[in-house]
Symmetry: C2
Subunit: 130 residues, 2 copies
């Protein structure tokens, strides 16, 4: 096993690669949660002023601690906000967070494509293969 040399100081958007939030997006239960927050099934909504935890329990068909566990993770990752009003905790998506993550992925795509069609006027370094 070799020893790692210096890390590459990547520019900002690539820094988001490795963000723990991505892991949350891969779980099927949490994916359902996010989809539900985005477009709630009315038959699962017990209240008119937002989506609360018990709605998710109904919708997902999982135990209440499981819902609580996932929501805590989503809130800590900044993907969702939680607001306690009375006995209920209301959840909402954080669009800015999704935008940040999405922009980073698009930036990766753009950079790869740009590197593959270098401008006719060679300015910078070697175009991937010398």
């Amino acid at each position: 096993m070799p020893t790692a040399p210096d890390l590459t100081p990547q520019t900002a958007p690539v820094t988001v690669l490795g963000d723990p939030a991505f892991k949350l997006l891969a779980d099927p239960t949490r994916a359902k949660i996010l989809a539900f927050l985005l477009d709630p099934v009315q038959s699962c909504c017990s209240r008119s002023d937002g989506i609360c935890g018990c709605d998710l329990e109904t919708f997902l068909g999982v135990s209440q601690p499981t819902v609580s566990h996932h929501m805590k993770a989503l809130v800590e990752a900044g993907l969702v906000t939680a607001e306690k009003r009375g006995r209920w905790v209301y959840y909402d998506l954080v669009p800015e967070r999704f935008r940040t993550l999405g922009d980073a992925l698009l930036d990766v795509a753009r950079r790869v494509e740009d590197a593959r069609k270098p401008s006719p006027i060679q300015l910078g370094g070697l175009p991937q293969s010398a």
Copy 2:
């Protein structure tokens, strides 16, 4: 524990939520791999015609089986291509895949924002809360 009712038939872009590829983006080692493929450190590149597995081993400082393990996962997820030439396997990013995932996240962001500033002329359903 309640029983789950019908699933919400989400439109296409939201379907990507839960994609296993997201999980891969969260791992720090794989994040380094992707960053390296995007912008290789020259001192870690043994060959001039692409990035091979041994370059990654050098760059990451992890064992060869670990590199192989991660690359297999990335290829199976469609994030990276692998092409064997001679003794070496050359890896490349798949920008279309990153674009698809990124677009989906931006779509989530857009939908949330659209739902929060409903047009003055109410056309569709109730704007989140009735």
